[in-house]
């Protein structure tokens, strides 16, 4: 397996959506390729970091204002 072939399967590997046979092939590639090990680990970490950090919170005050405005308009529909 080449690095390009490994990368093409990376998302499915990270989401555990590969067959047993394919997983074995991917793991064999990883044993001999530090580049792909690093790519896999840091890509997984990238997803984790974005999932665990709320970048755009909606403050309560603004939230209430928006909700009121939406519902007032809906009532006029």
């Amino acid at each position: 397996m080449t690095c390009t072939e490994f990368i093409a399967q990376l998302d499915d590997l990270l989401e555990d959506r590969v067959t047993v046979t394919l997983r074995a092939d991917l793991e064999e590639h990883l044993r001999g390729c530090e580049h792909c090990v690093i790519t896999m680990n840091t890509t997984r970490k990238t997803i984790e970091i974005y999932r665990s950090h709320e970048l755009y919170e909606l403050p309560n005050e603004l939230r209430e204002r928006l909700q009121k405005a939406i519902l007032a308009k809906c009532k006029k529909c």
Binding site: I7, T42, K45, I47, Y50, R51, Y56, I70, L71
Partner: protein
Amino acid sequence: MPNIQTQGTEEVHPDVLLVNRAREGDVQAYEKLVKQYDRQVFRIAQHITQNREDAEDVVQDAFLKAYEKLDQFQGNSKFYTWLVRIAVNESLMRLRKRRTGRMVSIDEDVETDEGSMPRDLADWGPDPEMQYGQSELADILRKTIQGLPPGFRTVFVLRDVEGLSTEETAETLGLSVPAVKSRLLRARLQLRERLSRYFRKKKGDGAK
């Protein structure tokens, strides 16, 4: 959210019950849907438009449009993905306006080769984000994702930040499943590469 088991074998999502009540003029039922999804719609809009005022407008307009179009909601998709589709379209429209009329679509800038094969070989430490304070880290994450083309950014946000499935993301954006997969892979790899500037192991890391 759990589905409600009806007398037959079919399961009805609670949102569908609220939508049905809202269609009959029950604004309080719609209020529950607004309160359930306004944070998510705001996040998505802010990620796409990169502008706070636009994101606020998108929240209002998306929920209002959805309300006006409730009769068109088929019920064969989730209300949330249907709502997100409206919000994404509203967001792209506002992004286009901000860019003084230049066309912005979900297909923009996706034909780049960047990100198809990783170039940066640098490894990260076990908890790279601990190198930064919360506020500084949030700035880094915002700046990094803002650098992605809108077509990649939107797929990444829906799939990885908001947790939609690949199929839901495809349906929401009007893309094929292979197109979503391709963009998601490239978005993830580009973000990884860009974050490496901040998170790569420094010389001497791990040395006692």
